[in-house]
Symmetry: C2
Subunit: 212 residues, 2 copies
């Protein structure tokens, strides 16, 4: 599956297994109680590690937060293109699958928690977290989407000038204002829980705009 979350199927080169376990615990604290719930003492207590180790591994609290974001981003993989996208129908199914996975990632509680964290820290001097999330989150997805759309254009299924612009339209059609509402603490409406239908409707409208 594209965009799927792998549970460390093999060792992540960036962090040791022990560190990954601690970061996983930090993610849990973040999802449960937000940024202020992620204190160095609290994490040490919950993860059964010492504060000294935290500071040895991550430098300071900001480094810890950056490590959490980087760790989660490292779990989202983009396996190479699904191979033979021969006919029109399977290509459209690929678009549907992409849109569905996009919604699944964006609306997941982990993504919501990390977005809240990064947005809350976006007033810092350098704003490492926001840049990190944009770089290793949105830009990756955008690249994946562009290559998919370019393939569709090359085969004559789609028609557009700028792939980035086309992707942004697809994003807007699929996400609408649901993401910001979730970030603000609103509950998703019932029909918005059916990601498949939402994605299919978005792709349908996308074809009405960019289909041949």
């Amino acid at each position: 599956m594209s965009l799927a979350v792998h549970e460390s199927e093999y060792t992540n080169t960036e962090f040791t297994p022990r560190q990954q376990a601690v970061l996983e615990c930090a993610l849990g604290l973040l999802v449960a109680g937000g940024e202020k719930a992620l204190t160095t003492a609290g994490l040490a207590r919950n993860a059964n590690c010492s504060k000294e180790s935290l500071y040895k591994w991550f430098g300071d609290r900001d480094g810890l937060l950056a490590a959490v974001v980087a760790y989660q981003a490292s779990k989202v993989h983009f396996p190479p293109e699904g191979g033979a996208t021969a006919d029109t129908e399977t290509f459209r199914q690929h678009l549907n699958a992409f849109a569905t996975e996009l919604l699944a990632v964006l609306f997941g509680e982990t993504s919501v928690a990390l977005n809240r964290l990064s947005i809350g820290q976006s007033n810092k001097d350098d704003n490492r977290l926001g840049q990190l999330l944009l770089q290793r989150g949105k830009y990756m997805i955008s690249a994946k989407a562009r290559s998919l759309l370019e393939a569709g254009r090359h085969r004559g299924y789609l028609k557009f000038d700028d792939a980035e612009e086309a992707y942004q339209v697809l994003y807007g059609l699929a996400v609408r204002d649901v993401h910001i509402r979730l970030l603000l603490g609103d509950k998703a409406r019932p029909e918005e829980h059916d990601l498949e239908s939402q994605a299919e409707l978005a792709v349908q409208r996308f074809y009405k705009l960019f289909g041949t």
Copy 2:
């Protein structure tokens, strides 16, 4: 102008002029340095008031934050419908104007700062700020948009089943992922600064989906 910001043309019944001045100062601190820059001592110093007055007026720090959000929301008015929207062309111009103003509000630094604040506080128990921003911000705009779209449908310019759904599509076409990128600290691309063109393009695509 719809959605225009009025500078307290006449006394806001909710806050005294002195309190409004202090809240204005708080807004400035928020826009400049984010939530952590808005301390009670700092606000008292900058606004030339005492902490005791702050607590007397707003109860506690959370009350102060809520007051800031409520105050800013009270400045955004939705004057009654522009009156005679007779022909097709003027109606479409109204849609363009609405979309432009929507982008102008959402991408303004004040809105960005308040959204960041509310999102950062959305893990609290009751989440007053997020509810407040949703209630007095997004829902108001949504209502305005729905009435506008309903009028278009009634006159035969548009065709859709659910006005709320149609509005969300218009929102997605206009905003795309720019809002979340701004919240994360990304800079808007050059072409995204031309709100008029962006809005016009969005309305053009909206007509392709819902026009008659």
